[in-house]
Symmetry: D2
């Protein structure tokens, strides 16, 4: 039984609390948050205890911590938790600063730290990866990732987000790494604030296209938009030497209506909680399973740093208006 | 080169005129119609001549006639054309009277007379048949045919149509015979005039369901409605011991629109001319091909009589409220 | 908080145990089963207690019982639970005997007894019903229900099942009642044992088509097969005066693969547990919600008896080879 | 009646010959080709005459010429035909040399010269444009064009093709111009010869991604591959402020097969002749219609030069590894 503490008591922490509680191999024992009321409420809901981070890390009966606090605390908490001998599952991104994330990685080394790239566990994307690995479309050549949010976040959030590449496209960078099995050589970003000029005024873009080129000639394209009014649009397609794989959206239902106005079907599920709920559960199960089997966790801190490096390269590429080689990032 | 005369100059005759003219192995040489103006106009459009039926049948240079006149003339014209040594492609149904159709069959025997069950040549249904024959779903068990018109015809037409089973469902009876490769043992019809009570007042129904049972335990269900406001709905599905085959509608385009209101795609093509234009061309090509190869035509007068017998059985079943065995039709 | 006892500890009881436990308004307190070990195991898994039926019914702190025992015990348990003042959710069918079910209904009258026609709570079918009620396709005219199991049950089960109409199609009879909002006038069944002759030897059929006719001219068709090798095939379509509604299968994933061999997508989810898991949860939530709101339960014992009457009529119709009027059932 | 001569007698000329002959407002009167036998054969098939280019241009009864010769002859033939007072429909690209095409444009000015970007007339893409113009998705923001051929051409062809951007992606550049209604500011190309190294050895790429940026912040992405083994993959999607429009592939049929192996549907139609046959007919009809109505042709020589400029920019961008501004092309 994996006695688990949850650091953070926000919305995504709630999702993880459910996953931890309903998994037969883990138990939620403690919740910590700077907002004591939130921590208390979440803990009560799952029969756990609200405690301080210090108390949690000092408690030898706690085997694992799930870090779902604000991004700027991730690196510190990872380091402290590893030092305290806990296994760690930390929400993405590792940090907004690549240098800080690299330092964290250098410090914790091979400790069991998993980064929460939950989309790898989405059954559709996981199925695509499995089909690719099984050779069903031969060798991968051209990858396309479409990743649109239903609506932009408040500009106040944008300002502290680290920018679209670190905040939003980082999931897609990791998806590219997951599917391509290698880091790209160069990153080439374009973007604009066509959805909301206020996002541009805040120094960010809301619509972006990034092209990744690989040493062996493979290419990947990632498209992001902060607004797709019809819902969360999350699709991947991969052209290979012997075929094409596509993983599409989950729909709200299978209902189809045909009238004089056309044939109407359901929209994609609204946002990430709806779409990726099964992925969050599968992610937790994979973490618990790896620990129980004494295997390395399926998404490592290295993976988190790799995706962050791509976000940094994309940010730089957009600013300079030219491609940036990952090797030149330093 | 098959010198062909067209008997009839109405809408469906126009479709056949195009097929005859554009096929490299046939030529439209003459058109006959009781409406001389219509015959003249259609003939002129295709570089053919307007002539009388007598003149056409007496002309030894004419090899084939396509009969697209009103149903009550079909049997007579088939018999006369065969007597004159012409190959015949006749629109469905052979006749409204089963006895008359049977007499026609008895008279013309094995002469090359093809009945215009064009749906056998629809690429989707033909593909379904080919997949079935190739064993792709094992043995057929349960067939479903959905066949809805976009809008009911005028009640005046209904009154002379012979009823929904002889006028509309006869296509589906032939489709069942085509796919099942055997005639059913019994026919069981239900129906109502829920679309338009005036159709009921005219002694017909506009919504009907017919179940066919076969000697070996297979079952088929045919659904007809005179009104599907979203367009011509023509689907077939066949459950077999090793799978399911479905042939669906052709859509007006592949355009899909996703908005806050849902995901909207195109409607089915509006009616039979849009849906079955390729089928009419393929039907004519099959007729010409069979004659050139000195093979029997792919849809025979026997097939036409068989479908008509099922229509008669369905009419009787609806009237009596009980199943009718084809063997009891006499 | 609804203190709930579960009668039965089989597979479907396990599904209900999860629903009861995870609903914030209910709690699983006791499990009874003739197999004491099974009851103990299931109870332990959810922190409940294994108890006898007598003890459960005698315990005034228990508010509700969920009956998931073998069918032959349903009527008795409903009557006893109602007599003990419990609210009841009972798995379908009420009974294999229509007379017994009618007697049960007469005895318990308006007590809160809900019958487990879970498909009414499937989001796809519920959405279809909502769209119909909202007038989105005008007035209903022609309903089609396709309901195929992935594989036939053992013949030993078939023998005690009450036959395909009481065991399998009863769900579809209730779906027709749910969507049409009225009982049919007549039932007309055909069927054969084409999937497995042993099922025929056991006095049952494995493939069946039933046509229902309604007083106002509406028609419904239900198709059942005990074997669709590609998975559980559960579809409903309803033609109305202003359009068509279709609710289709849930697929295992959205993955699509295009190769020289064609374009391949995922199969339907395998069987009822995969397809209807959300429906079971929604069913329980509806039961709890109705009790808390002091409203009548959304699927009543009358509904259970109505579906059973249709199953009896279908059984009779198949045997006699002619339509059976519900009014003539006695 | 538009008396039309066809310059060229190759495969695509044959497609145009059919369109010219079957249109009620045009007639094919002459065919010219350096291969006299090919010209004679094609002419005979459509009741036209094989003549020299000189004879055609000198014949005042000929109103229009359709240029379907090799690309290196296009500019000269356009200039000569315009000088001879003929209306012109010329296959794309105008020329492999941007300078030569610009000179041609300068010379012929506003004469009725249409460039054969047939995809604008594909019903799916035309429908997408119409929906966009009707405001159905608000303002355009992010365009994606997928354009994969089923198999690469021979390397010998690659060598004289002008490269993937002038030969293949030029269609997509025009599609972007058609849909976006403006030229981009900058072009940014990546590419590799991952499909066939011999294509790389010939100085070209077979897989390419181009990003177009627009003055107002809109972005477009075009993906090309010379090989999609499942068939011709031609899709467009456009994200707007109020929704998404997608135009997909035409499929070989609507047949769907469900077995234990999955659910298999038909592949896209194989290549451009199958997919764009209706587009070629509609293109010709638009040309004839514009001339008859004395309106300007719907795709102009300027359009042809604009697309060619983008191809030149892309070629340069790929070579330099950085974005190229169209304004810097000179």
């Amino acid at each position: 039984m994996l006695n688990t503490a949850l650091l953070g008591a926000g919305r995504i922490a709630g999702v993880h609390a459910t996953a931890i509680s309903t998994h037969p191999g883990s138990r939620l024992v403690a919740v910590a948050d700077i907002n004591a009321e939130a921590a208390g409420k979440l803990a009560a809901q799952y029969g756990a205890e609200a405690r301080s981070v210090d108390a949690i890390l000092a408690d030898p009966s706690i085997n694992a911590v799930l870090i779902a606090t604000s991004t700027d605390t991730h690196s510190d908490l990872i380091e402290r938790a590893v030092a305290a001998g806990k296994a760690v599952l930390c929400e993405k991104p590792v940090d907004l600063s690549l240098a800080r994330a690299q330092a964290c990685l250098a410090k914790v080394g091979g400790a069991p730290v998993m980064i929460g790239f939950n989309r790898r566990f989405d059954p559709n994307f996981a199925g695509l990866k499995a089909a690719l690995d099984a050779g069903e479309i031969g060798k991968a050549e051209l990858l396309s990732i479409t990743s649109f949010d239903p609506a932009p976040p408040p500009v106040a959030y944008i300002k502290v987000s680290g920018g679209i590449f670190r905040d939003m496209m980082i999931h897609d960078f990791d998806m590219a790494n997951f599917l391509m099995g290698a880091a790209p050589v160069a990153v080439l970003a374009t973007g604009s604030s066509i959805v909301d000029p206020a996002i541009g005024a805040a120094g960010d873009v809301d619509t972006a296209v990034v092209t990744l080129t690989y040493a062996d000639g493979r290419i990947a394209v990632i498209k992001n938009s902060r607004r797709a009014v019809y819902g969360y649009d999350q699709r991947v397609e991969l052209l290979g030497s012997e075929g094409l794989l596509q993983a599409g959206n989950m729909l709200e239902s299978t209902l189809v209506k045909s009238t004089t106005g056309g044939v109407t079907s359901a929209k994609p599920t609204y946002f990430f909680l709806e779409r990726y709920m099964p992925a969050y559960r599968a992610e937790w199960a994979a973490f618990v399973g790896a620990l129980h089997a004494d295997q390395s966790v399926p998404v490592t801190l290295e993976d988190g740093v790799a995706a962050l490096a791509m976000a940094e390269a994309a940010t730089l590429s957009l600013a300079k208006g030219e491609p940036v080689r990952l090797a030149d990032l330093g």
